[in-house]
Amino acid sequence: MIGALARTPAALRNFGNSQLATLIGILIAAFGIVLTIQHVLQHDASFFFQILTIGIADGAIYALIALGYTMVYGIIELINFAHGDVFTLGAFISLALFPVFGIAEGASGFSYVLPLLAVGLITMALCAVVNVAIERVAYRPLRHAPRLAPLITAIGMSSILEGAMYLWKGPFNLHYPDLLPLTRLNIGAVSIGVKDLIVLTLAIVLVVAFTLFINLSKLGKAMRATAQDRDAAQLMGIDINRTIAATFFIGAVLAGAGGITYGLYINSVAFDLGFITGLIAFTAAVFGGIGNIPGAAIGGLLIGMVRAFSDSYFDSSWTEIVIFGILIATLVFRPTGLLGMRVPEK
């Protein structure tokens, strides 16, 4: 009898740690979904598809940034807070390169495709160089320091990048040229902007390509090996420093591409854009399961949609509460995220 009493709390505690938490999480999610469906039904279908496209396009951009967070976390368990600012840097660099390549707002057409591609490649390369330099200067010397130390240098690097962009272009909102076609596709009653479709295609192609690259290429294998066990990987002849640098390189390439895509989509950038965008992308990475690459992609898309639906079907003042509520709920009820933390199994 006494033994049974003594055992019960232990059983309850175990239950509370796993099933109960999942149950509560599922209930909260279900409540949100039911509430959303109820609101969606009050509006017409055409509006729903427009919002869905906007949500996916926004979400695809978040996914591009979230990949960088998750890759870096996966390999050195560091939240690279400067990543959001590398994303902003991508937008700033491309903005500065447009005049060099003769790209200006107005006559958007196919003649812009090649120069735009060139701007994109240079921007991604420059962002990658900056991010690798950040890793070399601020993170590599601290690789064996307590985990708080690189986190603090990460926040410092974020402030330095923001300050540099502030000095470069000032505090103003900068207009980013509107180069994508403004035509709209009308499918029945549903009207969807070609611009939205281009943005979401671009982002999704990049996300899928890099996910495949990491899963199939030799470098990708080295990255995953380093993430699983750094010492063992080194014993197998993998150059740890080069692999980690490559991770930062690829993450920044995606962030740079994200910066350009964001600029082309939103048409306005500012020096402090990376802070909040980075936080939302970080939420997406945690939501999908930090360290998990497909998880970051799915998390990004879902957070983008949550944001678009919250903004348009509910009061927009609630959006940030909802998004960061998801961050907290994920950490409390399912710390491994939707798809689980696949990489760092130690």
Binding site: G170, F172, D196, N267, S312
Partner: protein
């Protein structure tokens, strides 16, 4: 460039002050009186704050002395990281209070800063006169003030006496003036003749105030507000969902309760492709600047209208000599803001009040309270932006509003209307 020139004038003004000070031993100055300003003059807000500061500075430099006292202009910047900041404004006021020569302050520029500065200045007390504050709850005790803004005129004035004045028309005028214009049959400048408008604001005291007053008047006149949203400008720069919603609900125009510094015209830029370029975009004085036109991109068309809470001094023939002299001292369009001559009038009103206070005090240096009392008694003062009389709340009794429109990528005067008492 702009700032360098302002500095040059400031230095020359200081030289004048020193020159006068030097003659104290003879028959000259009875002492120095400082007129301070606290305006956002760096960063995103500088495009409207700096020309205003220069207007005030020009008035002080022009007057040079009052009743034998030497005047000195002491400018403060209330922007932090390029955006106006209430805490910085309070620090500025505290710095002024510690300087007994400061008898009045021109500013603040933003209503959100005013609500923090007024209580601090009120306890001293120091006269504040704002060229551009338009939030009605700063001066008027309306039933929704506490709920909507978290303050009332009396909660901002712990001493129970008023020390705050302004020359701009409160939001109770600015929002409704645009609503009347929007609904009246067109073409401009008579009106726009539209009945369905979507409204968004930037979650700031000012933005929400004008947006609410616009919506109220527009509905009262028979129009429909089809959609309303509030956005935190720091977190949200994507207005596509709001625009999609506005379009699906048949909006013929968008009214923005916001400023360029809070991204008021980014939404206009994103309207490309969603709406045709002839869709109307309406807003308060906060969007009536060059930054707005940059953010609007290809959508900076002539279907953008903004109200300004002050009259256009260049439309006033009596003001021409001073306006021309200012333009000679500060050439170029970037030195000419919507509130430049309101800034001039604010400084001139303080100087006028100080003069009367000195007279009442037997030619001696007046106290700050005596300056406030003299300012409150201002009657039919012929300023550049209108004839100014203050009501007991510190508001102008007959404010003049102007309407501006975008033409070939700049804001131009369309019409102005004096409001009834």
């Amino acid at each position: 460039m702009v700032r360098a020139r302002g500095l040059a004038v400031l230095i020359s003004a200081t030289f004048v002050a020193f020159a006068c000070g030097g003659t104290t031993g003879g028959s000259g100055s009875k002492g120095e009186i400082d007129i301070a300003s606290s305006l956002p003059v760096s960063g995103a807000d500088a495009s409207s704050g700096l020309p205003t500061q220069q207007g005030a500075q020009f008035a002080v430099t022009r007057a040079a002395t009052v009743r034998g006292f030497t005047l000195k202009f002491v400018p403060y910047d209330d922007a932090v990281n390029g955006v106006h900041d209430a805490q910085k404004g309070v620090q500025n006021v505290q710095a002024m209070l510690s300087n007994s020569k400061v008898l009045g302050m021109v500013g603040p520029f933003n209503s959100g800063v005013a609500k923090a500065e007024i209580p601090v200045a009120n306890q001293a007390p120091l006269a504040l006169i704002s060229p551009s504050n338009t939030n009605e709850c700063l001066t008027q005790s309306l039933d929704y003030c506490q709920a909507a803004n978290g303050f009332t005129p009396s909660s901002l004035r712990p001493s129970g006496k008023n020390n705050y004045f302004r020359v701009a028309a409160p939001d109770t005028f600015q929002g409704p003036a645009m609503a009347d214009f929007a609904i009246k049959a067109g073409p401009p400048p008579a009106g726009l003749g539209i009945t369905k408008v979507a409204v968004w604001d930037d979650e700031e005291t000012f933005g929400q105030g004008v947006a609410k007053n616009f919506a109220k008047e527009f509905t009262a006149k028979g129009g429909t507000v089809v959609d309303t949203k509030s956005y935190d400008p720091k977190a949200k720069k994507d207005f596509k969902d709001f625009l999609a919603s506005a379009k699906s609900k048949g909006a013929q125009g968008i009214y923005v309760g916001g400023t360029s510094a809070t991204g008021g015209c980014i939404a206009r830029g994103q309207m490309a492709g969603v709406f045709s370029p002839d869709i109307f975009y309406l807003g308060p004085d906060g969007i009536g600047d060059a930054q707005c036109l940059k953010d609007s991109g290809s959508m900076a068309t002539s279907n953008m209208f903004a109200t300004q809470g002050v009259a256009d001094a260049t439309q006033n023939p009596d003001a021409k000599a001073i306006v021309d002299a200012y333009s000679a001292a500060y050439p170029g369009s970037s030195n000419l803001g919507a509130y430049t001559f309101a800034g001039y009038d604010c400084a001139a009103l303080i100087i006028d009040a100080i003069g009367r206070a000195i007279d009442a005090n037997g030619g001696n240096m007046p106290t700050r309270q005596q300056v406030i009392d003299a300012l409150a008694k201002t009657t039919n003062y012929k300023g550049l932006t209108g004839v100014i009389t203050f009501d007991p709340n510190g508001d102008p009794t007959h404010p003049t509003l102007q309407l501006q429109q975008v033409k070939s990528n700049s804001w131009v005067f369309v019409a102005q209307f004096q409001q009834g008492a």
